[in-house]
Amino acid sequence: MADFGFKLSKSSTLDLDKVDLKVYNLLCKTDPDIKTCMACGSCSATCTAAPFSGMSMRKVILALQRGQDVRPMLGKCMLCGKCTMVCPRAINTRHLILSICKCYD
């Protein structure tokens, strides 16, 4: 068949009807504070790893809420816990990270 240079790309749409929220729902039980994140970015701004690795706790939480795999990003966390100190919603982000790891055990 003639190659016209076109191909089908995967859609980047987040299809909320089809997302798998298994991990997020588990976390809502162990760390219910996760539901109160307001995406202010304090955690990411204060994160020691962020500027060099792209680690962002805010993005991790959002990704979980959208049913995406957070393991590649989480691998960059050094568990220093600075994010927990600045969160205005008093989310224990460090504990949350440990809980996320357990979900994937």
Binding site: A45, S56, P88
Partner: protein, 336 residues
Amino acid sequence: MKDNIVIIGGGVAGMEAARQLIALGHKPIIVEKSNSLGGHVASWYKLFPDMTPASEIIARLTKEISDANVFTGTKVLSMTKDKDTYSLTLDNGVTIAAKAVLLATGFHLFDASKKEEYGYGVYDKVITNRDLEALFRGEKDARIDNPKAVGFVHCVGSRDLKAGNSQCSKVCCMTAVKQAIEMKEKFPQAEIYCFYMDLRLFGKKYEDFYINAQRDFGVHFIRGRVSEVGETFDGRLQVKAEDTLAGKPLKVQVDTLVLMSGMVCNPTVSDLVRQARLDIDDDGFLKSRNNIFDILESNRPGVFYAGACTGTKTVPETLAEARAAALEIHNYLKDG
């Protein structure tokens, strides 16, 4: 004989209530703990949304309540109830028997030094919204010296569980945008950055300020909460936030950083609250009987509220409540 009405607090709420009570034929008594009337508004320069000089509002109210009995520099030592009368003892030795008491005790500005990571009281160039109003009013401030870059931090001590206050202070977004414009007018060469979590510009004409700030004054709006502030070797301030829209950590150096301290409850009324057995709401403010229909009424007959003592309010909201409270009191005394 007319029944005594005592108004505790001589900010714009107390003053406007007194003005209306006088118009209704009463002779209210204002007890104000500081040495002058006007409350917080007396410390502001120009008021949104019309940029009305705050001094004009205070001057007008002061003139129109010249018939009221005013005790300034006076505290209420105790307030107790006997049948349908409240007995108030003042620290100047006066005791008043009043049929109705209006609490117009307002709010406190959040103490910005409690947010240690922002460095108020540590770094010279970190100031508050109140300090900036004083500068605009013409007070000298050696900390502000022709800045090349200025940052505004929204929500300081508001929407912050760690600061003990989960509520939105409501007026600060608007105040920040207003002050950003005023700052740009004063220092046209300065770059201005507003760090916000959500912009809550809810009131009449507020969105116009936002558009003007963007279009005519080039104010930069960055969606991210400032996480920490440090000093550079040459004495400037290094501000860190996440630019959450770009999804990247962000830093910028500024010469002045303005913290938008929020409106929080006034703890100095706790003695009165205990003695008169009034209810306090979860947010620490005085608790209205109902937040829709009975905002001006306390849980005790004869005790009324107006203004920022029940929650964050703008000046026009405060004035409207004060007028309504005067009418409530008038009707209460007429029926009683």
